[in-house]
Structures are given as structure tokens and as C-alpha cells.
């Protein structure tokens, strides 16, 4: 029987090694696998490369990994949200490497990895500093930049519902990078609000087919929710 449900957050991240490349879903504070990130922080893997649209704010999520000095490199489009104090501090101190990628290019590079493509030619960034050192090509009179596939060792994603086969659906704009990251990592781990029976998700409505997901772990009820 296929059963991808993982009993604990800790077990779900236990095999993430030092030096791993980890994708983390989310946009702003929407659709972030907060509890998986906390489990990863407690697990304590170091020298991580984090691929995510933002770099966390305050002491939460990715910011907590930065604060604990677990991250060697950030790959993102917008690391400087208001309140991204830990990223800004490490950046100023020269303690973190940054690969800045336009958001749509980030999405395509992630998708390319999941789809087995070597790379794509995008018009985004052509003629700008972010294309410096990259191959370019004029196709039908328009300039494009070659952007290569960006795979990961692990993807931590956030979904609304999941089942034992790994099928996932999302909540509103919490979808964002989660479905494409699910396809691009060797191991994809999904934090869900609740698990449903196999067959309960309408086959027309599944957003991430289970084949892309290795582990599904349900959120622990937060203390203040339980009170």
C-alpha cells in the first residue's frame, strides 16, 4: 500500500544533510511551510543553499535559519522585504552569498528542473546586469538569456490538503511556488493543514499529482489555536 504520510515533522526532515540545496515554497507570508522550516532548524543541518522567493522576515521561517547561521547561500528574487533584518545583517557582514534571480526566471528554472529540460531562453533580464556572464541569443529578432535548470535535493512545500498518495491541493494564493518546487527536488516534503482519504480529492482538482511528493506531514495545532 502506498502511504506517504509521515508521522512527525522531525522524522520528515531527519535525512536532510549538511550542504543540501533546499527549496522552500511561499511568497511573502503566504503558503510557507513554517513548521517544516522549524523542524529543519531544530534538525540543524548546516551550510544550506536555500531557494525561495523571499528571505524571511523578523525571526520567522527562513529568517530563523539565517539567524542560526545554517545558510551558506540564498537564491531568491526579493530578499529585502520590510523586516528581512537577518538577511540584511548577514549580507552586510559578508556572511552570506546571494544569487538574485528575477521571479519569473526563478519559476522557469525550477520548472525546467522538474520537467527534465536543460534550460530555457527567456527575454527577462536581457540587456541588464542580471544577464551579465550568461549566454544570450537572438531568436526571431528578439534577445533572450539562457537560464539553466535549477534542481534541489529537498523541497519543503505547504499545501492545504494532502492524501496518502501525495496528491495535494492549495489554498488561494498560497499556491505560488509550491507546485513547481514539488517537481524539482529529489525529495519533496509537504506540510498540509489536514490529510484526507485517498479518493477524496476530485481528480479534476488535484494541483500536484502524488508522483511528485515523497512525504506528507500534517501541521501540529499551534498552541494558541488549541487554547
Amino acid at each position: 500500500m502506498i502511504n506517504k504520510i509521515c508521522e512527525s515533522l522531525r522524522a520528515a526532515v531527519a535525512d536532510i544533510e549538511d550542504g543540501s540545496v533546499v527549496m522552500i515554497g511561499g511568497f511573502g507570508n503566504s503558503g510557507i511551510p513554517m513548521q517544516l522550516i522549524e523542524a529543519l532548524r531544530l534538525h540543524g543541518a548546516r551550510e544550506l543553499t536555500i531557494i525561495s522567493n523571499n528571505a524571511g522576515t523578523a525571526e520567522e521561517g527562513i529568517a530563523s535559519l539565517l539567524r542560526d547561521r545554517l545558510v551558506r547561500k540564498m537564491v531568491c528574487s526579493f530578499p529585502r522585504s520590510s523586516g528581512s533584518i537577518w538577511f540584511e545583517r548577514l549580507y552586510e557582514e559578508g556572511k552570506i552569498e546571494l544569487e538574485l534571480v528575477p521571479q519569473g526566471t526563478l519559476a522557469e528554472r525550477i520548472r525546467a528542473a522538474g520537467a527534465g529540460l536543460g534550460g530555457v531562453y527567456t527575454p527577462t533580464g536581457y540587456g541588464t546586469r542580471l544577464a551579465e556572464g550568461k549566454e544570450t541569443k537572438v531568436i526571431n529578432g528578439k534577445g533572450y538569456v539562457l537560464e539553466t535548470a535549477m534542481p534541489a535535493d529537498v523541497a519543503l512545500i505547504k499545501a492545504h490538503r494532502g492524501d496518502a498518495w501525495g496528491n495535494l491541493i492549495y489554498n488561494t494564493a498560497g499556491r505560488n511556488f509550491n507546485p513547481i518546487m514539488a517537481t524539482a527536488a529529489r525529495i519533496t516534503i509537504a506540510e498540509v493543514n489536514a490529510v484526507v482519504e485517498v479518493g477524496e480529492l476530485d481528480p479534476e482538482h488535484v494541483v500536484t499529482p502524488g508522483i511528485f511528493v515523497d512525504r506528507v506531514v500534517v501541521q501540529k495545532v499551534q498552541q494558541h489555536d488549541a487554547a
Partner: protein
Amino acid sequence: MMRLNRNEMASRVAQDIPDGAYVNLGIGMPTSVANYVSDDKQVIYQSENGILGVGPAPEPDKIDPDLINAGKQYVTLLKGGCYFDNAESFAMMRGGHLDIAVLGAFQVSATGDLANWATNDDKFPPAVGGAMDLAVGAKQLFVLMRHTTKTNEPKILEQCEYPLTGAGVVKRIYTDLAVIDVTDEGLRVRELYGDNTLAEVQALTAATLLPPL
């Protein structure tokens, strides 16, 4: 000279958004354009994080924490709207499906180069977000910005001094002084607010302006 305030500037752009248009509004002043589009027009707003049909801010008790716009503000969804992932959202933006994008800018050049993602100050970490994709993708790119910096330096220049977001991408510039089209002949003033004269506006512009047709 007549200088529009922020609301008047947003309102001026709103006049030029046609009924039925698909529009992406950048973070900051551009976002407020939606407040001034008249009710007899149906305009569909896209948000880069995967929303088509963005509605107004929710009642405080109706907030969905996942339902935010690109500026990280809580929003709602209109009837007929839908959600999708970032790959599809940027396919929509890059693929020429949006009729209009309205973005802020640090600088715009005489040939429509846009600089709005980085200054030459290396102290802060750079951030680009979706600006470069919008710049190359939308059918028409409108810039909405003050005509000059706070210290009265021109923001419309022969060449941008700041790093480019996109080359030759701007179609029209809405400032607090005038509306200017980027044309093959150069920067052509489309509208001067109040009694502003071409000479007055030219004096605050570091690129040649052509008179209104």
C-alpha cells in the same frame, strides 16, 4: 507649476485603463490606480503571486492570510477570478497576455529604458522580484512616478544611470507634471497638466521632449 499629488497621479493613469483590460499594478503608488478606475469599467487585475481578478481589501474578519497581493497586502478575489502557480503567473506576464502593466521607476531613458530595481548604492542587498518579467512581457508598460527626485534631480534622462530593469520597454510615462509617450521619434509630451508649459517641464527633464502633436 501644477504638480499633481499621488492620488491625482493615480487617478490620471486610471482614466487610460480601458474597459475589459487585464492589468498588473506594481507595488506602491501604482497599486492605488485601482481605486480610481470608474465603476462602469470592468478591469481584471493580475497579481504576480498567482491571482487573476484581484478584488479590494477584505473586511477585517474576512482575511485569508494566504490571499495577499504582490505588495503583501490582504486582498479578496472577484467573482470570475482564479488562482494559479508562479510558473503560470509569469507565463501570463512574460507571454504578452496582460494589456497593461503600471510600474514605478527610479529613472526612464529617452528610448524607454526602465531602471526601477537597483540604485548604484551597494550597501543594501539587491532585490528584483517580478519587475524584469513585467517590463518585457506586458503589451503596454506605463511608468507612474514623480517627474524629479526629492532633491529635484531629473528622473527622465538620455541614458539611465541606474542598472536597467529592461531596455526599450516603457511605452508611456505619467508624472506629476505631464504625460509623455515614448515614440520612435523620441519622448513626445502627450499632456501638460494645468498651465504647465513645455519649457517648464523640459527644464526638469534631462532628455529632449517633443511638443504635443
